[in-house]
C-alpha cells in the first residue's frame, strides 16, 4: 500500500538520483494525483558514465544531463523541478546552513507532507549525504508538528545491519514501464547498466526473475533523528 501524501518533495544532488531506485515511488504518487516537487542540487557535471558507447564529453555532460533530467521528470509526472546550481562532488564543502536555507524555502512554499531523500550517512556518494544532512537540518528548524516525514533511501552495504528492516516497502510493478522509461531517459548514465541488465536477464529465467524482483520493490527508512 502506498501511504497517502498531500505533497511529496524529493531532494537529490544529481540528475538520475530521483530515478534509480525511486522512480517507481515517484510515479505511483504522481499517478495517484499527488504533486511531486524535485530539488536537484547539481547537474552531475563530474559523472563517470558517458553512455555506451560514450557520446558525452566532460564539457557537454552537464547540458546532456539537464535534458535527461527534464525528460525523466516529464515521464515521471514531476511538474515542479528546482535546480540549485551546485557543482558535482562539492556539495559537502558548501555552507550547510545556506543549503538548509535553500531547501527550507522550498519546504515553506510547497509544504510537503513527506520528503524523499537519501538516508543520512547511508548515501555512499558524499553529495548524497551532504544534501540529506541539509534536508534534515531544514526540517529540524520547523516546529515539531509541522515537520514532514523524511523517507531515506539507504544504499550502503550495511544499511540493514545498522538501520534494521526498511519501514516502507513499495511494490512498484504496476508502474514498471514508467520506471524503465525514466531510467532510459538518463541515457548517458544508464546505457551501460541497462545493457548489462538486459544481457543478464536473457541469460536465464532465474536471473530475469531476480532482476524483476529487484526493480519491482523500492524501500525507505523513515528518519527519526
Amino acid at each position: 500500500m502506498l501511504p497517502k501524501q498531500r505533497h511529496v518533495l524529493a531532494v537529490f544532488p544529481h540528475p538520475d538520483d530521483e530515478t534509480f531506485g525511486k522512480a517507481g515511488t515517484v510515479a505511483m504518487y504522481t499517478k495517484a494525483g499527488t504533486p511531486v516537487t524535485l530539488i536537484c542540487g547539481t547537474l552531475g557535471q563530474m559523472g563517470r558514465n558517458m553512455g555506451k558507447p560514450f557520446f558525452a564529453t566532460r564539457e557537454k555532460l552537464p547540458m546532456i544531463r539537464k535534458k535527461e533530467l527534464e525528460d525523466a521528470c516529464e515521464i515521471l509526472g514531476i511538474k515542479d523541478l528546482r535546480l540549485l546550481g551546485l557543482r558535482d562532488k562539492t556539495v559537502e564543502f558548501e555552507d550547510p546552513e545556506v543549503l538548509a536555507d535553500r531547501i527550507g524555502e522550498v519546504i515553506a512554499e510547497v509544504r510537503p507532507s513527506m520528503i524523499l531523500t537519501y538516508y543520512p550517512k547511508h548515501g555512499v556518494h558524499p553529495d548524497h549525504d551532504a544534501l540529506s544532512a541539509a534536508t534534515v537540518r531544514a526540517v529540524a528548524r520547523l516546529p515539531e508538528d509541522e515537520r514532514p516525514e523524511i523517507w531515506g533511501s539507504a544504499v550502503t552495504k550495511n544499511a540493514r545491519a545498522v538501520l534494521g528492516e526498511p519501514d516502507i516497502v513499495i511494490d512498484v510493478r504496476e508502474v514498471m514501464d514508467i520506471k524503465l522509461a525514466a531510467m532510459r531517459a538518463h541515457r548517458s548514465q544508464s546505457e551501460a547498466m541497462m545493457k548489462n541488465m538486459e544481457a543478464e536477464a536473457a541469460s536465464s529465467e532465474a536471473a530475469k526473475k531476480a532482476i524483476e524482483e529487484r526493480l519491482g520493490t523500492e524501500v525507505y527508512w523513515i528518519y527519526r533523528g
Binding site: G51, T57, E59, V124, H125, D127
Partner: protein, 116 residues
Amino acid sequence: MEPIRREAVDEAISRFVNQDVYLHLETTNGAYAALRSEASMAVCAYIRNGRVKFHRGSIAGDGPYRVGLKMDTGWIYAEGLTDYEVDEEGRLLLAGHDGDGRIAVALQLSLTPFPM
C-alpha cells in the same frame, strides 16, 4: 571525441604553449567503486580552471597515451588517455575511457575559463 591521433594532439597542445591557460585535470574510479567492489576505495581528484603556463608539452605512448606539460616550476601529467577533441571553442579535451565508455581520466586546456 575520436580516438587519439598523436600528431593532431601534439599540434593542439602546441597552440597553448607559453600562454596563460585554464586547466581541467581529473581522475576518478567513480563514487561507487568501493560499493561495487571494483576497488577498495573510491578515488577522485580534480582541478577545474587551474591557471597554468607551460613552455613544453607533448603526448607519448602507443595508446592509451600519456601527456606531460612542463612548467617553469613543475609538471602536469596524465596517463590513460584514449580520446580527444578540439571543440568548437578551440578547447583541447583529452579523456581516457574504459571498456564501458566511462571516463577514468581527463586533461583539458582552454584559453578561457571552463564553465562552473
